[in-house]
Symmetry: C2
Subunit: 160 residues, 2 copies
Amino acid sequence: MPADRAQYRELARQLRSVHAVNREIARCLPHDCPAASAGLLTLLRTHGEMRMSNLTELLGIDMSVTSRHVAHAAERGWIERHPDPYDGRSRLLRLTESGQEQLEELSARASTMIENRLADWPPSDVATLNTLLGRLRASFGAAHTPEATRSDTYQATSDK
Amino acid sequence: MPADRAQYRELARQLRSVHAVNREIARCLPHDCPAASAGLLTLLRTHGEMRMSNLTELLGIDMSVTSRHVAHAAERGWIERHPDPYDGRSRLLRLTESGQEQLEELSARASTMIENRLADWPPSDVATLNTLLGRLRASFGAAHTPEATRSDTYQATSDK
DNA sequence: TATTGTTATACTCTATAACTATA
DNA sequence: TATAGTTATAGAGTATAACAATA
């Protein structure tokens, strides 16, 4: 049985408020490194070398946007783009050493800030929040059934 | 004692990914009602009539931005701005009946969509996520002043 | 003088569509 | 023809600074 309608409304509100938290975190980043770059570098470190299309999927944005962010990071020497030997249309992205250092710096700043704000949280709560947010992302990322959730065509049928 | 550094880094990543979820939810909203309007209307329903400055604080954004969003909503008849009898500089904001209907529609769309995606979640997990996100916002919210307010805000909204 | 709110300007993030170059 | 990626353009969301009106 799914949860109450009221719980979902509350969740929608809570998720919106995360936006403000993210802005707060982004404020402690270096000036030439916007939040989008940080996300990009993080994914490249976690998953290793990958193609534009792959990164686009992980970021959950349009490839045109990925292209801009990647260009920004490449101009600053944080990542390298080199041709895919198996597909001349593709470009493989890889973190440079400078990019790894940059990421280290970003990560340190962000986690220090979060640590300050969440100093009185029990570690188990932080862990739980991480787990649930990961599951949330999975629940949203996977189900790309366009018709069911598109504007104007919403219904309560949750069949799969 | 606080949590691991690695947990905070993970949290930063998870919070960023909420951005994609919010975009997905926003996509099912009516065309003339951006996400910012939805947040604004929700707060006005929950907290009732309030001033610009008050709303600004709750939204966690600059008042200039609030001013724009409020103007957008006022032009569409969702909220009314009338003078504060106690302070000629202030304006009091109130949901109109049309605004309440609009909010009802938005809320139904968003929660239906979330329900579809989270159909296989146990209700207790949804509740836990709501609680932790509420606490997160509280821990970040008013803490522009360093140590003083942190423990206060932590307890203030941990229950509902 | 200080505060409430508005407006002007600029920057970030995003999507759509048109384009290129390979496949 | 179809796909990978880029670029042009437009639209939300935000912040800073200059401003008006009131306290």
